[in-house]
Symmetry: C2
Subunit: 351 residues, 2 copies
Amino acid sequence: VGELKLAFLGFGTVAQGCARHIVANEPRLEQEYGFRYKVVAISDPVKGSLLNLNEGIDLRRALQLLSERKTLEDMNGKTGLSSIETIAASQADVLIEATWTNLENGEPGLSHIIAALEAGMDVATSNKGPIALAFKKLRDLANSKGRQLRFESTVMSGTPLLNMREFCLAGAKISAVKGILNGTTNYILTEMARGKSYSEALRRAQELGYAEADPSGDVEAYDPAAKITILANALMDADLDFKQVKREGINRIEMKDVEKAIEDGKVLKLIASARRNEKSQVEASVKPILLPQTDMLAHVGGVMNALQISMDTQPDVTIVGPGAGGDSAGYGLLSDILTIHRLRLNEELVE
Amino acid sequence: VGELKLAFLGFGTVAQGCARHIVANEPRLEQEYGFRYKVVAISDPVKGSLLNLNEGIDLRRALQLLSERKTLEDMNGKTGLSSIETIAASQADVLIEATWTNLENGEPGLSHIIAALEAGMDVATSNKGPIALAFKKLRDLANSKGRQLRFESTVMSGTPLLNMREFCLAGAKISAVKGILNGTTNYILTEMARGKSYSEALRRAQELGYAEADPSGDVEAYDPAAKITILANALMDADLDFKQVKREGINRIEMKDVEKAIEDGKVLKLIASARRNEKSQVEASVKPILLPQTDMLAHVGGVMNALQISMDTQPDVTIVGPGAGGDSAGYGLLSDILTIHRLRLNEELVE
């Protein structure tokens, strides 16, 4: 079994996190999983575009150059290709799509994933946009091409969730999921419960890099709405449109709401949930909810995320873990790549 | 791809839980996973021994008969074979080993698993004894025969854990695990925190069927010691002997200990843990520990179990779920069977 040819589109925090895990664990990944790889292309609108089919791109050197504020184009290879040109020219086995999330129309990630699947590549993506907006279309395309589409890191970053459903909760029928899917708002609510005002907590979140300068994607709950859409469609076989999610953020929460919750012995959390209604349709919402202390989710603080999964075969299972960060989301990509590799190994034996 | 031939050894609560899940989901398992099966044998020291290679054994009818306090031997097929004779005669693809746990020498499960692997069968087991006492030997035998040995339900029953490590945390190096692995003692400690005495709480646990008449396996922590041995060896690649686990139960806990914990704002829990020491050896222990309220494990109450996993690639992941019960442990067996089936599908394509 030969080397897995990898192409990175988007080489920001998450893709670099993945690259760091790969280079840090190279001998172990080869020994334990038979994983050998060659990076044939990296394309990023800021960090440069590089293609090198023969020698491959040295990931260590690429990470080093970027840490020195140089660009990828300081390395050997063909430069200047657009992202779509890079996909076609790369002849990669796996496209790692880690460009920015766009919840309007999913671009440019959506076009990247379609082009890669059309070209017969497997895809691992951390990009919520295409999966939240076009999961069924992309899944059907992947199936029709006999290729894998994996997106573990789109929800709760590297915490096992989507692959877990496939490999560890097979056969179980999931009736509901409920959780804390946005670290920024959970951090703000946690700080408010400790006495900070909304605006103080938001400012602190921005200083720590948890919240963007424009925090609306988090505090108006677009981000967790995208994630619950992904979970409803991928875990519960729903056909939910992102815009159908009832969405209420935390931007109207006031100190008195948090104080009232504490007085009542409760905890205010931004809860994303999806459940099957009486007509067997899946309904989803994101909204602030008062949780009793007996609810495990009440004790998930700071930037941590959690999801409680209800199923027909056994009592609820709850998974708690990091919801963001280059290390964790980068690990989610690596987990997808290793799963793609494992299933390809069998495939290659067949051919 | 043909039917997967299943043989059940031990047909108590757990195996019947698995059988109920299979019959309840038959059409869906075939449609979604291509899973078709034939039960060729069931052997249980109390419920009878039955072999039927041609027609197979109707699981629905078997469950029905047992619910009417009849035995399996009231059905068509060859009766009276011993468990070892059943394995040889069954020519099964998968042995489902669900006999009782024996932490002295692992028997009879150990001999059953060895016989099945030697005969070229895959094995799914809920039996802690053989895995806690002889994991490396059994794993090496399975590898030498090219067969699968799965044991998801031995720890935290059907909550994803062991298969999760293999499929969803691949590539991550696990440095420590820490958790609540025994539901009975967690129930007793939870009740004591609500004001019951140790003996009252134990009696209630016995009434509810959580604790045995002789509760020493739980309250003296043999059960969680076996489980942490399994986790250390299977998740952390240790070579730990069950007898090396430092073990302290809850049988010496008094009301004043629990009251003192509450006064100090802490929670007393029986914590099983394994970590790599400076010499890179894995050390494991089970003992009562005072947890702060900020520890997620402090909020795992009643018969629930939880495990916190520390790894090199991302912050801790914690999984919380059922630790016992026929439904959940039975689902753990089904999850193993479906994984075995998925990987066999590829194998059959190769042949």
